[in-house]
Amino acid sequence: MQHGKYRFIAGFLVIPLAIYAIFVISPFVQAIYYSFTDWTGLSPDMKMVGFDNYARLFQDDVFWAAVGNSVTLLLLLPVVTLSLGLFFAFMLNVGGRRRKKAVIGGVRGSSAYKILYFFPQVLSVPIVALLFQFAYNPESGALNAFFKAIGLDNVQPDWLGDPGIALWCVMGAMVWANVGFYVVLFSAGMSSIPKDFYEAALLDGANRFNTFFRITLPLLWDTVQTGWIYMGILALDVSAFAFVQIMSVGPGGPDYATEVLPLYVYQKTFRDGQAGYATSIGVSLLIVTLIFSAIVMRLGRRERLEF
């Protein structure tokens, strides 16, 4: 009976599988193939160069700077965004002071906050990036103006112009743009947790801290894991590209402080006419992504709690 099961399932999925093969698998294979060529991206003629492109990667300081920054984003962006998202969602749904009748509830005005948090989500990435760029403007931006207004005339950082903090500035904008989505997502997850659990916990004398770590988080784990993967992709992919491309010095600077892998792929393909080399960077991006997803899958493996 077990024999031929996959074939049976595949029978129903012929069309989607074919589309998947054409539009997802074949570009992959092609890209891996191109990474062994000296293709310029501007003319159809190319020749095989074996592992030259990959050998070059190892010598390429910019590539390693990009790997470093991409991995930094990959490690920090999900942690920061999800923690903030969880914290806010908890405060909006559970963390409020106890009121009559309701067992749990959010802080005062939580529904207004919810809209506020979600607001950045309706703005497109380029607009958010531009807004932050204005705020970071060292000469007339909101941040430095604020510092001046409170008397910190000497604290006038160059923000995006300072290699020490440029990546953090970009990351700040990315967190701001994304945290609202997770507040809403986690709020939805929390609302499906039965109230009796909280009631029982409260009767046992649990404080907010304990309620969060012993009830909310474990029951929300699946959602958090999904969010983690999603944020990881964002950190590696187009979103990071867009923010860095629009906001950073250069882009990618100053002095490669914000160079990330997708941006480097773009620059090598479209600016330098080295599409073959760019695809080999793309393949290394694929490897980073694979490692990331393997780790997340392994770490995230837990018994699902049914309730």
Partner: protein, 479 residues
């Protein structure tokens, strides 16, 4: 059939998710790179060669033109297209002119597929790399166009109607001319005569005067200089001619040729030291390292800084802010003299072509593409261009009878004053990555932000130049 014990939904979902994770980021970056096999462009038949049609354009053939829709817009090209139709009425309805800011993403698939347009204005942020296009034999040699009689005077070849240096810019080490630059840009130190008048000053012709003027401005809370720190490769617009002025045009030539130790020339060091001094003495507007070009131009137009390294497009780009001050009186200055032993006289300036037009090799109607260019290089079209976009044209003339805006008048005067002392460094079109990312962002930006001394910057740039020379994936050029 399938029992849930071994094969459940969760597994399926998990596997799908795992595949998806892999697919999503890699997909978007990689799928942009799918290629196609080469197709031979079927050329249209030649037309009849006459005095009015020296390029023997097929009179009824279609024409496909793609224009970069940037600061200059596309109206000037559309007007030329109307002229083309006047000359070839049979092509009516078959001439297609489209404009885009995304030159590369629009055209790359067409180049790869072997069916590119007949004429392209390869400009803007998505400019296709010329070195690669030339190296991969994707462009038509424009010599027939250059040797054709000009529209206005049949006894004069098109090549004799162009401004100095334009043809050389379109050559890549050989006899062929691959690119025809249509606009003509003057680079230098841009300033407001009005703002200088307020300080009872004129444009400083020597560096000592420059420093004195900056000191004076500083007392009034005005910065001497600003620059777009986000794109520090604006600094060379005044820095490179400054280097040439100090050490002679030869220094820039050696730099362009990536010769060993070209950057170790004392003239480079002198110029870098001078600019670094601006930073050291606090004459650079605070926060400049974090400004983009528009922000720095705004600060400059608002009178917060006196000077900015820029090109003649600034008049158009910052028109609104400049207009806010009726006494602004925009002007461009050549690099000030560092000392009396400078090799080139005051007035030495960087001027070169802009808006590079190309006729792809595989174009179906390449004669038509060149013919449209020939029409654009007529006095009438050039005048139209100058009036519309207030920029000079690579056609040497067309300014008579046109009231030029102040910045352009000043640029025009600067060209007259420079005479033959026009320099034209080529790094920015030969080695884009080296010029913009490495030298610009990696060294000059760091130096002007005070994070690197001139000596360190020079050392770093020399290494970048050496790396580029040794990089076999980059095509090299000589001049």
């Amino acid at each position: 059939m399938g029992s849930t014990s071994e094969f459940n939904r969760r597994d399926l979902v998990k596997r799908a998710a795992a595949l998806g994770i892999v697919a999503v980021p890699a997909m978007s970056m990689l799928s942009a790179c799918a290629g196609a096999s080469s197709g031979d462009g079927d050329k249209v038949a030649k037309g009849k060669k006459t005095a009015k049609n020296p390029l023997a354009v097929n009179e009824s053939a279609g024409l496909d033109v793609v224009i970069f829709d940037g600061g200059f817009g596309d109206k000037y090209a559309k007007d030329a297209q109307a002229e083309y139709l006047k000359a070839f009425p049979k092509a009516e309805g078959k001439v297609k002119l489209s404009s885009t800011q995304k030159i590369q993403s629009t055209l790359q698939p067409r180049f790869n597929g072997g069916n590119p347009p007949d004429l392209v204005d390869n400009s803007g942020a998505e400019q296709m790399d010329f070195g690669t296009l030339v190296g991969k034999n994707q462009l038509s040699d424009l010599t027939p166009l250059l040797d054709a009689p000009s529209v206005d005077d049949p006894n004069k070849k098109v090549r004799d109607t162009l401004r100095p240096g334009v043809i050389e810019m379109g050559q890549f080490g050989g006899k062929e001319t691959w690119i025809l630059y249509y606009a003509y840009t003057v680079y230098g130190v841009w300033y407001s005569k009005g703002n200088l008048r307020k300080l009872d000053a004129e444009y400083p012709e020597t560096w000592d005067e420059m420093l004195a003027l900056c000191a004076k401005a500083k007392k009034k809370g005005i910065a001497g200089w600003t620059y777009p720190g986000k794109y520090p490769y604006y600094l060379p617009f005044s820095l490179y001619p400054f280097i040439a002025k100090i050490g002679g045009a030869e220094v820039l030539r050696r730099i362009d040729n990536l010769e060993p130790n070209a950057w170790k020339d004392p003239a480079v060091k002198a110029a870098f030291d001078a600019y670094y001094e601006l930073y050291k003495k606090g004459y650079v507007l605070k926060g400049s390292p974090g400004l983009d070009h528009l922000q720095s131009q705004k600060a400059w137009a608002d009178g917060k800084a006196l000077f900015i390294p820029n090109g003649s497009w600034v008049e158009n780009e910052s028109a609104k802010q400049i207009a806010a001050n009726p006494h602004f009186d925009l002007a461009v200055g050549a690099p000030s003299s560092l000392s009396s032993s400078d090799k080139m006289p005051f007035g030495t300036i960087w001027a070169s072509g802009g808006e590079p037009y190309i006729v792809p090799k595989a174009a179906k109607n390449s004669d038509g593409g060149m013919e449209l260019l020939r029409i654009m290089l007529s006095k009438k079209s050039a005048q139209n261009f100058i009036k519309q976009v207030s920029s000079l044209c690579s056609f040497n003339g067309g300014t008579e009878g046109v009231t030029l805006p102040p910045g352009l008048t000043s640029a025009h005067a600067a060209l007259q004053k420079a005479g033959s002392n026009i320099v034209n460094p080529r790094l920015q079109d030969w080695y884009v990555a080296l010029q913009k990312e490495r030298i610009g962002v990696g060294a000059l930006g760091e130096m002007m932000a005070g994070r690197m001394t001139p000596d360190e910057a020079i050392k770093k740039i020399q290494k970048y130049a050496d790396d580029t020379r040794d990089d076999s994936s980059v095509k090299k050029y000589k001049r």
